[in-house]
Symmetry: C2
Subunit: 152 residues, 2 copies
Amino acid sequence: MPQHTAHSHTPVPARELIAAHGGRVTRTRIAVIEVLQAASHPLSHDEVAAALDAGGIAHDRVTLYRALEWLVEQGIARRIASGERAWHFEIRRGDDHRHAHFHCDRCGQVLCLEDIPATASAALPAGFELDRAELVLHGACADCGRNGVGAP
Amino acid sequence: MPQHTAHSHTPVPARELIAAHGGRVTRTRIAVIEVLQAASHPLSHDEVAAALDAGGIAHDRVTLYRALEWLVEQGIARRIASGERAWHFEIRRGDDHRHAHFHCDRCGQVLCLEDIPATASAALPAGFELDRAELVLHGACADCGRNGVGAP
DNA sequence: TATTTGATGCAACATTGTAGCATTAGATGA
DNA sequence: TCATCTAATGCTACAATGTTGCATCAAATA
């Protein structure tokens, strides 16, 4: 299995995830979680919105931002700075660990690189406190590649 | 010397750098390069603008964006996604290599971690082309630290 | 010094995300 | 089931960061 596809194990039901964190189980939250769980890669706000539209789930732009923010606060999802301006969001799974991401500079997609850990190879200077490391590789994805869309 | 301070060797004169890349030697470009060369850490557009103001150098917001963009295109500067919304810019030096950066989640500053290379620890899946790796560590800088400003 | 064209400066616009606040609807207990 | 409480929602506005178009200016060159 290619390392950038979705995990195959059964996801935790959205309603349970939400309730376990003491949040109200609402239409938008359920749908957002399900969209992220079904996604094979981290999605931008816009991509989530499109998925909700496709699923016929009405939603407000601001509410969606707030739902995503809440998921991140609760540790249910994680926010990734792709290098473009918009955040991308991925659901955290049981066997989760911090991994690198790949940003395709041609099509803009963000993919997970489960096999590549996001860690620093050396210690920080004295006085610094490390919270987390974010590693983003840039280039062209397999779909865009040399022969692909938008190649120069 | 702490690893996040500016390099001490004499910088290439701005006019030469610009001319060497076939660009026109203009007030804004010279000033921007000098500001970046003098900076001890990557600066945001806003920080560059403030430095120009402080130096009494008139400048337009858009022109500054374009000057920075040109420097990056020419390989004179490098653009860093700090994890916040605004880009940060650092000048490339002779002995330059891709290093990690540190983003202080309290004060928002971006610092260079010259000793920590930005590289992937494993190969990409087949078909992927790597252009560059960006490694950003997040946490609290020495100034903010446990005892510092805004500590919880 | 005149000419050419890259760079600038301005206005308008685009994208992405936030704040305030009245209203709605989950959760809870009677 | 119904009433109640308040977390979420859904508006409208606004903020931050960047981009586009285009007329004008000035750096390089002859």
